[in-house]
């Protein structure tokens, strides 16, 4: 199953609005099915609410809303991918997530300018997996680690 590349890093692939994305499994703490999410009043639109995981209350971002796609109802395949980066733990709601693949960072191209529909802002790059195109997520950008969005820790 693992590739022979010595520089491969494991990635978790997920689907969102028909596109395959990848995120480094190193930042993924766990993956859950969606149970109850408590809405948080006056939170940003793409923040679905909070969930209780491992004794911690963490926010859940609806990635469709984050990327500007319309929301769809949850089903059995919807997943919450819990990422941990920059000292924060945040859950990402995606349509489905199942695959673990090793990717060689050398095969990841930088995101092209003006990728339609998505601010390349949230992407760290684009990889090819066989014939598939996998958009590599930048988890820090997705959860908003830029200055101004976070208060000093």
């Amino acid at each position: 199953m693992p590739a022979n590349g010595t520089n491969s890093e494991p990635y978790i692939l997920f689907e969102l609005a028909g596109t395959t994305y990848g995120v480094r499994s190193q930042v993924v703490q766990q993956m859950e099915m969606i149970e109850h999410i408590t809405p948080v009043p006056n939170a940003p639109d793409f923040v679905e609410g909070v969930v209780f995981l491992r004794g911690q209350v963490i926010p859940a971002i609806n990635l469709r809303r984050r990327f500007g796609f319309p929301k769809i109802p949850y089903d059995l395949r919807t997943r919450l991918i819990v990422v941990r980066t920059g000292g924060r733990t945040v859950g990402l709601i995606v349509d489905s997530a199942r695959e673990f693949v090793p990717l060689d960072p050398a095969t990841i191209q930088p995101p092209p300018e003006g990728v339609a529909g998505l601010s390349g802002h949230y992407l760290a790059g684009i990889a090819t997996l066989g014939e598939r195109l996998v958009l590599i997520l930048d988890p820090d950008a997705v959860i908003g680690q830029e200055a101004g969005l976070t208060s000093p820790a």
Partner: protein
């Protein structure tokens, strides 16, 4: 990574954790001692105990740092120790400059260790070393760098094993002798090589326990500054066994029942100690095993100065009257256990879950009541439930108390900072501390260190005027800064007060208006003033002022206080001074709460914040401009609808329940749709910026895995003020 390497790393890693913890303790003791010495400058006699304590602190730091290889810390501590040694021997007198140097060195030591721990580049310390050397250079022989550790074969009984025996220990020693055993002083010095072979203090311990009785075990700092472990071991094993262990970092010597003549004996090799029995009147007491049985021990008493009992076991069966000298006048250490804060957190979590379970039990009981009330055991069941509630409360408090530390520790750290700051800014500050014994949760105090430091710095840098300015204003030249702490019921109140120039509300308001933070015609009261200075990006000084707040500082202070569930208040008067009052809950985690529903969503409101609950009909509400009011106790009470505030669907027509929060003129009624019940909840922090919204203080879980948000009464009141101010419903 091979298993040997990882085991090695793990060994070293846990060693390092202990090292940092020990450094903290020693540094705290040194700081305390130095401050005492400073206050006794020029007042005659120095307290020898204090000098001793500071000396020992540096000595220990030197040894510990040497052991784990933090050379810069070792050197700094060594140089400071040398000065202290001279002071201790009264070969020099204490003067202000020297003390200043030692204080600076202590601070540098802290920084070096902290930087080492974080893997950051170390501050430059060469200059400090030179400065410290100068202190000792002109005096009695300058302390030479520590001599290289003696070769493993040399024997020197560990000093600690020579220390007087505690009563329990000597009893066991006597018992051992009665059973025909011999007593040995064993010294084990760990090293990387030994660790690689799997030999560490624990393996040695087990080995000793298997083959005899371990009467005493203690870590010691050797004269060379390294760490070893000293054991007092009684056994009837053949002494040749010990010889075999020489390869394992073990040195040994017979333990003599008669205590060594003087502490100096610790540094004297075994022959001198063995010579004692020759003078002692009762050689029969001595269970000195055959020196001849210790091959290869160069310094061992092979001379067998006359009092050698025949080789092998069995001294006289008659119980020897062992004389035990009591420990020296130094204070007996209290028995403390050092516990990882994480373990206390786990414990708290378990207690929290117990609380939730019991609350659910109570819910179930309540539901059962209609049918179960007739069952004979019903009363007992209820009583048991009540008893459990009481016991859980006690358990909760007990666990919470484990985490309490005196706030004095935090205050002491600020003393140092105040000294420096005052000096650097040319001000004269009289710092008074009170309530240092006030206990506060360890986690809370750790989080509050930076905010408190910030407030203190602000007070010295901005609040207090220079002596000249003060005199011109008719004040005494020395500024006063007070740090106070006290418990008030369920909370700890901390005050930071200065008698300086106070804040100019008008000037701050002007800045705030210019920055668009407040409306053009808004007046600022104390609360408003606090809001403004805590607003992100606000600052009354230029960026060049590095000593304190740049708009980031006060924001963090308030955020931290709020995150800990506390409140921050300000009092200031131009020309008279400023006082910050911080109130922090003692009980971090568990509160009684009203569970309510508004806009279809469940929320929890901490009970202590609620003064009353009223049921009102919507028709009783009066609408005036954009506010809603209700007649209440002869006056009017502003009402804010939670559902509307939170943009949730309102349920018009239904009766409303008002949770009255705040007091007097600040009271408001928070309108909710339903009161679902009342229960204890475990408070969890909601820290991620994405979900930090005004009006929400945290979250809890009622036992079904669903998160319920906890309302922030203070913030709701403030939100109301703001929305009223801006004319929004």
């Amino acid at each position: 990574m091979s298993t040997i390497e990882s085991a090695d790393e793990a060994f070293l890693a846990s060693f390092l954790e202990d090292y940092y913890a020990e450094c903290d303790e020693h540094l705290a003791a040194i700081r305390r001692g130095l401050l005492v010495l400073e206050s006794s400058l020029g007042q005659g006699q120095l307290d020898q105990n204090v000098v001793e304590e500071v000396f020992r602190g540096f000595h220990s730091l030197k040894g510990l740092s040497g052991m784990v290889g933090v050379k810069p810390a070792e050197q700094l501590a060594h140089h400071a120790e040398s000065y202290l040694r001279l002071l201790r021997r009264k070969e020099i007198a204490l003067n202000a400059d020297a003390l200043e140097a030692v204080i600076a060195a202590t601070r540098l030591l802290e920084q070096v260790i902290a930087a080492w721990r974080r893997g950051e580049p170390l501050p430059d310390f060469a200059e400090m070393l030179a400065r410290l050397s100068d202190l000792t250079a002109s005096k009695a022989p300058a302390a030479a760098p520590p001599p290289p550790p003696p070769p493993a074969a040399a024997a020197a009984p560990a000093p600690a094993a020579e220390a007087p025996l505690a009563e329990e220990e000597s009893r066991r020693l006597v018992a051992a002798f009665q059973m025909g055993k011999q007593a040995w002083q064993i010294t084990f010095t760990p090293s990387r090589d030994l660790a690689q072979r799997g030999i560490n203090v624990n393996t040695i311990r087990s080995r000793l326990q298997e083959q005899g009785e371990l009467i005493r075990a203690a870590p010691i700092i050797t004269p060379e500054g390294g760490i070893s472990f000293a054991f007092l071991w009684a056994t009837d094993a053949d002494p040749s066994v010990l010889a075999q262990w020489a390869e394992d970092g073990i040195r040994y010597a017979p333990h003599l029942a008669v205590p060594a003549a003087a502490p100096a004996a610790a540094e004297v090799a075994a022959p001198a100690a063995a010579a004692v029995p020759a003078e002692a009147a009762a050689p029969a007491e001595v269970a000195a095993p055959a020196e001849a049985a210790i091959p290869g021990e160069a310094a061992a008493p092979t001379a067998g100065a006359g009092a050698v009992a025949p080789p092998g076991p069995s001294p006289e069966p008659a119980p020897p009257p062992i004389t035990v000298s009591r420990p020296a006048a130094a204070a007996l250490p209290t028995i403390v256990v050092r516990v990882d804060l994480a373990r206390l957190d786990d414990l708290m979590q378990m207690v929290g879950e117990l609380v939730i379970s019991r609350a659910r039990l109570e819910d179930n009981l309540r539901q059962m009541e209609p049918i179960a009330a007739t069952i004979p055991q019903w009363h007992t069941l209820q009583e048991t439930n009540l008893a459990m509630e009481r016991q859980l409360r006690d358990l909760r408090e007990g666990v919470m108390r484990l985490r309490l530390v005196p706030i004095g520790e935090a205050f002491e750290r600020m003393q140092f900072a105040v000294r420096d700051l005052a000096r650097d800014s040319g001000k004269s500050v009289a710092l008074s501390l009170s309530g240092q014994t006030t206990e506060i949760d360890k986690y809370v105090v750790e989080r509050m260190l930076d905010p408190l430091m910030h407030l203190v710095r602000n007070a010295v840098s901005h609040g207090l005027e220079t002596p000249a300015e003060r005199v011109a204003a008719g004040k005494p030249p020395q500024g006063r800064l007070a740090l106070r702490a006290a418990t008030a019921g369920d909370a700890v109140v901390i005050e930071i007060e200065d008698d300086g120039r106070g804040m100019d509300a008008g000037q701050i308001a002007a800045r705030a208006r210019a920055a668009g933070l407040i409306a053009a015609d808004a007046e600022l009261d104390m609360a408003g003033l606090l809001d403004v200075i805590c607003a992100p990006g606000f600052s009354t000084r230029d960026e060049a002022d590095l000593a304190s707040g740049r708009g980031v500082g006060m924001t963090v202070v308030r955020d931290t206080v709020q995150e800990l569930g506390g409140t921050l208040a300000l009092w200031t008067e131009p020309g008279r001074g400023t006082r910050f009052t911080i109130e922090l809950p003692l009980t971090l985690a568990i509160v009684d709460a009203l569970i309510v529903s508004a806009g279809g969503q469940t929320f929890a409101m901490p009970q202590p914040a609620v003064r009353e609950v009223l049921e009102v009909q919507p028709t009783a509400l009066m609408a005036i401009e954009n506010n809603e009011l209700i007649a209440h106790r002869g006056g009017v009470l502003p009402v804010i609808r939670l559902a509307r505030l939170f943009n949730l669907p309102d349920e018009p027509g239904r009766a409303l329940y008002l949770l009255v929060i705040g007091a007097g003129l600040n009271a408001i009624g928070v309108a909710v749709n339903r009161i679902l019940g009342q229960r204890e909840i475990v408070v969890r922090a909601v820290t991620d910026p994405l979900v930090r919204v005004p009006g929400i203080a945290g979250a809890t879980e009622l036992g079904d895995g669903r998160v319920v948000l906890i309302l922030d009464a203070q913030a709701l009141a403030r939100l109301h003020r703001e929305t009223v101010g801006r004319g929004r419903p």
